[in-house]
Subunit: 365 residues, 2 copies
């Protein structure tokens, strides 16, 4: 393992799309939604700890999830759990980790990864990330990972690549990025697929600390000026108070918008390992083990009959769930919430946003 | 109030069609399924106690429901709660009440009524029952109440009447019964409706004790011989042991099949008060207050959107129920059971019968 390789896991999301299974008190990354015995955060840690030293793995999360991280990843030292007092999107998260880690090892090369994605084909994944880390340590490029699309997906952002400016190392190709695009509509997604120039934006980044620090300072001086001042605070009892003040003043901005879309140094490694952001129940449903009728059933005592292509989840080990005569529904029964809706209902998140305004239902989020 | 008028409420059913709201431990008659603040048993008591002396109302129920009856109807003396040790259908129930009450008042005239029916139009109902009680006390007829059908219902039995042999008292007509019929199929139910000769069998009976005693002895000697021997036991501490032995030996048989279909004395009072046996969720749904989209929703914290013609019931006062994007479903969420099926799914009862064979799910019945 390369002593300069680090991993920063971003685990601060609230995953409201998985409500009511995910809650503000225990969001998606802390849940074993696939029923495999490990939470998304743990699976992410496992994935990286096979080729990055365990004490080089950092987690950035929200203050309130500190105990969840410590409980699920007791291997990680307290110094490497970075706590954000407020939600400020990904640029401040990256800036905080960058400036703090810079103090520990200015020669670090890091992979920044979301805590809640699914990777299938760990070998191809590992080869790609290690190659990207090596490349990043020898260049001033900001690498992303682009996944070769297998369908005209409208739930992902895409990266358009410049295949004319590319490099092949260990059989793995990286290209200059032409543009980052938002989630396309169905028509545009088809065009993307046909051109062969567009790759799914996996949300993973690989760069040297030096390069990202320079680019943060160039692209987001209003953010970096705040974190730069913490050199004396990081790794000391003053860090918490310092970060509290910084986050109070810090604007919310994504690393994609704040840096990647502005920099001239964006490159993308092309890969085709199985990847899903598992951003919706539908994507979990598609990846899950289903019965012959296409149902994903996770109940202790199920009686499911004449039901097709549905998701039925009840964690209560003593509850009988009788489901009969319907198709394409999602039933999630939690102790304090019952959700019954279409399996692919993407508006539940919107309802929740509405709900937050109502005191009555706030406690269910 | 006539001192010879009595009412016998049959409250021993297990109402499995209302599962999982009704359970073997607390069946339908002990529930407030309509959400009106009174259970079916209490509503039945209220209905009769407006014209029958409170201490002339008896309840026959199963041993295990004794405490439920005492709790819900504390007005009824212990002597008037008749406990059946085994389920033996309605003929033994009627025989037990008949022989016991005969000892209290051999001149009694009684109305025998199920504990779990809905009556709308209490005045018409009261006039009909009082008239029937008066007629029964002056004749040896066994009266039933036939409800003028308003639709070709296939869930009810019908009574075919002989309009040529009839009598009108207080503006209320009674006719000789031609036949009792089983639940018809849809085609036959239409024919029934068109002829004007068929009335819904409401399951209520009105007769003098003397007459029913004679007819029981004539039609069901194997049953009556058992109960007859209890003259020394009724109203004594020996009653319980006596009844235990009688029910062990007693065959299960319905009063309809055992007496009404055999006797020459069956007459029917024709009425058109609103009546439903509330035998299915569908019938409760039809009688319930529904929202503009046709939903019967009984939840403390409901969020129902784009849902039509559905039943949603959750008794937990703290549970949020989010229902979106479906039609015609029935969702009943109990602490230990969740049922999701078509609103008019009449096979749930069959599943339960299957279930009873499985130790695993026995505790949910």
């Amino acid at each position: 393992m390369n002593p300069n390789h680090y991993c920063i896991i971003m685990a601060g999301g609230i995953g409201s799309r998985f409500w009511p299974k995910s809650r503000q008190t225990r969001p998606k990354q802390f849940l074993d939604i696939l029923g495999v015995g490990r939470t998304f955060l743990q699976m992410t840690y496992d994935r990286y700890s096979s080729f990055i030293p365990a004490d080089h793995i950092l987690v950035v999360t929200a203050d309130r999830y500190r105990d969840l991280v410590r409980e699920q990843l007791p291997q990680i030292s307290e110094d490497h759990i970075l706590l954000e007092p407020y939600k400020r999107n990904t640029a401040p998260c990256v800036a905080y980790a960058t400036y703090k880690l810079y103090q520990e090892n200015p020669d670090a090369t890091v992979v920044v990864a979301p805590a809640d994605h699914l990777i299938i084909g760990e070998d191809a994944f590992r080869d790609t990330i290690i190659t990207a880390l090596e490349e990043a340590s020898q260049s001033d490029r900001l690498f992303t990972i682009g996944i070769e699309p297998t369908r005209p997906e409208t739930n992902y952002g895409y990266i358009q690549v410049n295949k004319a400016v590319s490099k092949k190392v260990n059989g793995i190709t990286s290209c200059q990025v032409k543009t980052f695009t938002e989630k396309p509509n169905a028509e545009l997604a088809k065009v993307f697929l046909e051109t062969g120039e567009f790759f799914w934006n996996s949300g993973m980044f690989i760069w040297s600390l030096k390069t990202i620090k320079d680019e943060l300072e160039r692209c987001l001086p209003e953010v970096t000026s705040l974190f730069k001042g913490g050199e004396e605070a990081y790794f000391t009892p003053q860090e918490k108070g310092f970060i509290q003040r910084v986050y109070e003043d810090c604007p919310a901005i994504s690393i994609d918008y704040g840096v990647m879309e502005k920099t001239q140094k964006a490159w993308v490694f092309l890969s085709d390992f199985g990847w899903s952001d598992l951003g919706t129940w539908e994507s979990v449903y598609e990846r899950s083990d289903r019965d012959a009728a296409g149902n994903m059933v996770s109940c202790a005592v199920p009686m499911v009959d004449e039901v097709n292509n549905s998701v039925i989840i009840c964690d209560d080990p003593d509850k009988l769930v009788v489901a009969r005569g319907f198709d394409n529904l999602m039933i999630i029964d939690m102790p304090d919430v019952l959700l019954v809706c279409h399996r692919d209902d993407r508006t539940v998140k919107d309802i929740l946003t509405d709900l937050t305004m109502k005191d009555k239902v706030d406690k269910y989020l």
